[in-house]
């Protein structure tokens, strides 16, 4: 019987080979339409031949569509990834999986190959908070699926790689000024008209000042270059109308709950005028000389926590700008390439990262504070991370089978600490500070072997072993098969695994009132298998893929039994009398499968460009508490984007339209909030229009202008004091969306102006 079972497979293989022999090589237009990616294999290759499904967002697309932040780029232009905004830092998901409250630590974010996920919690930001000067971006590679085989921890949902421009593409000095505004909405989400009271005052307003400089030069006979980008963005507002939520009494005082000087006792809600703000300064410097490269990046991301939402804080005074978060990053990256022989290339890579995080929260409600601070309290959490690492890579080219071997050894040392201080509003009384400190190291050898025994066949096998003091050993394999069965066609079959190391925060965090530090916390794991077929015809590309992934050991909180609590009290880890105590544990599992499809094309000599990306998935989570599996909350299951742009004529603007969509998403408190009806955000549809170009009357001056409108009114996050249903509040309130906004930007290139003056 086994022989017959093998028959279909053999037929398929024979047919593929037969077709392959007749296959025509791709046309020049098809070849030029391919993207060059460096993420899947740590080396340049086309996206068609790479052992991963990826999409590339170009600087030209960013300009055409008026894209001004990483989340906009992901939502409007990428395949398979989408963000969700609780109105402070966006959350990111891929292929139907989004881990609510993960601070982006299931996606690896790289800038020119340097990982930006910080050492304390693995956090990365996928919006303006990414902290990369936007005009310095050459392209963004979005790789879907597990990527730990070369990158280790965090690369579970995928890898986003921002590649910055080389000096030749950013020559000279450029200055950019940009402004934006957001129209305020009423409590029901309806947009307010200009005639409404205080409309001008209630508008949201932001501005960006940026500059970049690039220069090529010769240093000691070596071709060298330098690029520098500086960027500052600030935004306030708009005014938001939220609530009212009849919360009721403070269970400690028995009086209506105090929501601070801008709140109403016992009722959460009103007008948020001061509590929505954002500041992001960022700088990036890159230098190269010959085969030596150095990069230095610094950024800060300061944003307010406009309202309690269960992600940042579950309670806070109303409309209080004191409630905020900030992150600061400093990253250094050095590398030297050595051509050791005609077959061996070595890359020595060193990196260092400094990071700190601050969270501030203020509440006057006694029930939100420790017993001894019943007149209100301020909380300040500080996290610090430092890491230092080195990587040695050897690339061996073999004379047979067009084989190449990548051998690598990654070693990293990290130190993190955190401290939570709680004090009275006067600052005179303090609760005992809580904190922790930890130093960890990892050593990770990896190998990736590729073979191309025929022009139509590519094989890629890889394996990485992470030995990490946080959890022990973890293997991350990947195998990929690529076949070109006919001209312009490509079939891929990929199996990969990835993991996320438990963060030092998850390992060490404890609260004597509510949480015990985790014991024996292991890495989260994902296994994924996917297949895709791609067809290029001229300047058109069609992709269709199926995927399935299994997630296990996901970190969640596990409720402790009375016996465990008693033991914790006996050890002095918990205060006496506590009844609800949790602990981080590897409890959850996710089962996910679906399809994705993409179409890109161009017509009219490339002046008209269009594209469509669609993902449809089913993701269910098993909480590990014996209950049945449930649809994953917050994560969009069907989502995507569509776009078109047209270059009218050289002296005219390029006009562009894009839309993004997603299906209904369950809110983050869908299962544990007790609300009725079960809270969910309705389907999302957002439309974006942009025009960009240069002014022929003013050489060197470019402009872009655009607007964005969202038909949806809310995102799937329960906001306000009532994070759980109570006698007074049975219906959840969800986070509002900025529904209508516009922007205008001007860019002046001194180099372009000089060129125009020299060659009128």
């Amino acid at each position: 019987m086994k022989r017959f079972r093998l028959l279909p497979g053999l037929c398929w293989l024979a047919c593929s080979i037969g077709i392959a022999r007749a296959a025509e090589p791709s046309s020049l237009e098809e070849l030029l339409g391919q993207s060059i990616v460096s993420t899947p294999s740590k080396g340049d290759e086309t996206d068609t031949s790479a052992p991963a499904t990826s999409s590339v967002i170009t600087a030209e697309q960013l300009r055409r569509f008026g894209i001004r932040s990483l989340d906009e780029a992901i939502d409007y232009l990428s395949l398979g990834m989408a963000t969700s905004s609780p109105l402070h830092a966006v959350e990111i998901g891929a292929r139907g999986v989004l881990i609510d409250g993960d601070y982006g630590n299931h996606v690896l974010l790289l800038v020119d190959g340097h990982a930006l996920n910080e050492p304390w919690n693995g956090t990365a930001y996928f919006e303006r908070g990414a902290g990369v000067p936007f005009d310095l971006i050459d392209h963004i590679e979005v790789m879907l699926g597990p990527g730990s085989v070369l990158y280790g921890s965090q690369a579970m949902l995928g890898v986003i790689h921002i590649v910055t421009k080389r000096a030749k593409d950013a020559t000279g000095l450029r200055l950019i000024v940009e402004g934006d505004t957001t129209v305020p909405a009423r409590r029901d989400g309806a947009l307010r008209g200009p005639a409404s009271a205080h409309f001008g005052r209630d508008l949201g307003a932001g501005y960006r000042l940026a500059g970049s400089y690039g220069r090529e030069f010769v240093l000691g006979h070596l071709p060298s270059e330098l690029t520098l980008g500086l960027d500052y963005y600030e935004n306030h507002g708009p005014t938001w109308h939220v609530g009212p939520q009849a919360y009721g009494d403070d269970f400690v005082t028995g009086a209506p709950k105090d929501f601070g000087p801008r709140g109403i006792p016992g009722v959460w809600g009103g007008v948020l005028r001061k509590a929505d703000s954002l500041q992001v300064p960022a700088g990036y410097l890159r230098f190269s000389s010959g085969d030596f490269k150095a990069a230095l990046r610094a950024s800060a991301f300061q944003r307010s926590s406009a309202f309690p939402d269960g992600l940042v804080a579950t309670s806070a005074d109303f409309d209080d700008p004191f409630n905020r978060e900030s992150d600061r990053f400093l990253n250094l990256d050095l590398s030297q390439r050595i051509a050791a022989s005609s077959r061996l290339e070595l890359i020595l890579h060193g990196y260092a990262d400094l990071y700190d995080y601050h969270w501030h929260n203020r509440t006057r409600a006694a029930e939100d504070c420790p017993e001894e601070l019943s007149n209100g309290c301020e909380r300040a959490l500080k996290g610090v991370g430092r890491s230092l690492g080195g990587e040695l890579r050897a690339i061996v080219q073999w004379p047979l089978l067009r084989a190449s071997t990548l051998l690598g050894l990654d070693a990293k040392l990290g130190n993190v600490e955190h401290q939570l201080d709680i004090q009275s509003l006067t600052g005179l009384e303090h609760a005992a500070p809580r904190g922790g400190e930890r130093t960890d190291g990892l050593v990770a050898p990896y190998v990736a072997q590729s073979f191309s025994p025929a022009s139509w066949l590519d094989l890629n096998l890889g394996l990485r072993l992470d030995h990490d003091t946080r959890f022990g050993n973890k293997l991350s394999p990947r195998s990929a098969l690529g076949v070109t069965p006919w001209g312009g066609g490509r079939l891929k079959l990929i199996y990969a695994e990835a993991f996320r190391a438990p963060s030092p925060y998850e390992i060490t965090y404890g609260d004597p009132n509510s949480e015990l530090p985790a014991t024996g916390l292991g890495p989260e794991s994902v296994r994924s298998v996917e297949g895709s077929v791609e067809q290029r015809f001229g300047s058109h590309r069609l992709l269709f893929g199926l995927f399935r992934s299994w997630w296990s050991g996901m970190v969640g909180t596990e409720a402790l039994s009375p016996e465990e609590i008693e033991a914790g009290v006996a050890r002095g880890d918990l205060v006496a009398g506590v009844t609800d105590v949790a602990r981080y544990s590897n409890v959850e599992r996710i089962d996910n499968y679906g399809l994705n499809a993409a179409y890109d094309g161009a017509a009219l000599d490339g002046r008209l460009r269009f594209g469509l990306n669609v993902t449809a998935a089913t993701s269910r989570v098993d909480a590990g508490d014996g209950s049945s599996s449930q649809v994953l909350a917050v994560a969009p299951q069907t989502f995507g984007n569509a776009r078109a742009s047209y270059e009218i004529a050289p002296a005219w603007p390029t006009v562009a339209a894009a839309l993004r969509f997603s299906d209904r998403r369950l809110a983050n408190r869908a299962y544990d909030g007790g609300f009725s009806p079960t809270p969910s955000a309705p389907p999302l549809l957002a439309l974006r229009l942009a025009a960009s170009g240069t002014l022929s009357s003013l050489p060197g001056l470019g402009y872009r202008v655009g607007a964005e409108y969202s038909f949806a009114k809310v995102e799937p996050y329960v906001i306000g004091a009532a994070q759980y249903a109570n006698d007074n509040v049975t219906q959840a309130e969800l986070a509002p969306i900025p529904r209508l906004g516009g922007f205008i930007g001007l860019e002046y290139s001194f180099e372009a102006a000089r060129g125009a003056a020299l060659d009128p």
Binding site: P25, S27, L31, S35, T58, D138, A340, D605
Partner: protein
């Protein structure tokens, strides 16, 4: 390298003089600096990649690694063996200008591994911008080396004089 090889194999189809230059079989010279490991490595790689392509410009082909001595020696060898394509490997940046001068009047398509070679006199070169491959053509040098690209090819390339 694979993409460069594929682009090169397609690009020559747009050269009106290519068939006459190549005759029955395309000979590709791959010029390397033997004392430069990187140059030899890149040369070997492009040889492997070209070798995996069935035809270049619709013709069978063979590749030969040629160590660089001087521009004059190279020109003499080209005149004698009549290759249709000269691929300039890595590490030859400082030699491209004298090579370009020596090739004037000969019928050969010179191809540079990087964009900087085109500025110095290679007829065809490769680059990447915004994650997309780019072809670069030095039109003046193309005329001097009897390379006649069709206008539809020049529309797809970045052309300099």
């Amino acid at each position: 390298m694979r993409l460069q090889a594929a682009l090169l194999a397609r690009a020559v189809e747009y050269d009106r003089a290519f068939a006459a230059r190549a005759r029955a079989r395309v000979l590709v010279f791959i010029l390397v600096r033997p004392e430069d490991s990187d140059s030899v490595r890149v040369g070997e790689q492009i040889r492997l990649e070209l070798g995996a392509i069935a035809q270049i410009g619709g013709l069978p082909h063979s590749e030969e690694i040629v160590p660089y001595g001087s521009a004059r020696e190279l020109a003499e060898r080209i005149a004698k063996q009549a290759p249709a394509i000269l691929y300039l490997s890595a590490g030859l940046g400082a030699n491209v200008e004298p090579i370009a001068r020596a090739l004037e009047g000969l019928s050969i398509l010179s191809v540079g591994v990087s964009a900087s070679y085109v500025a110095k006199g290679a007829v065809l070169g490769f680059d990447a911008e915004s994650g997309r491959p780019q072809l670069l053509v030095h039109l003046g040098q193309a005329r001097r080396q009897q390379v006649e690209f069709r206008s539809e090819f020049l529309k797809l390339a970045k052309v300099s004089q």
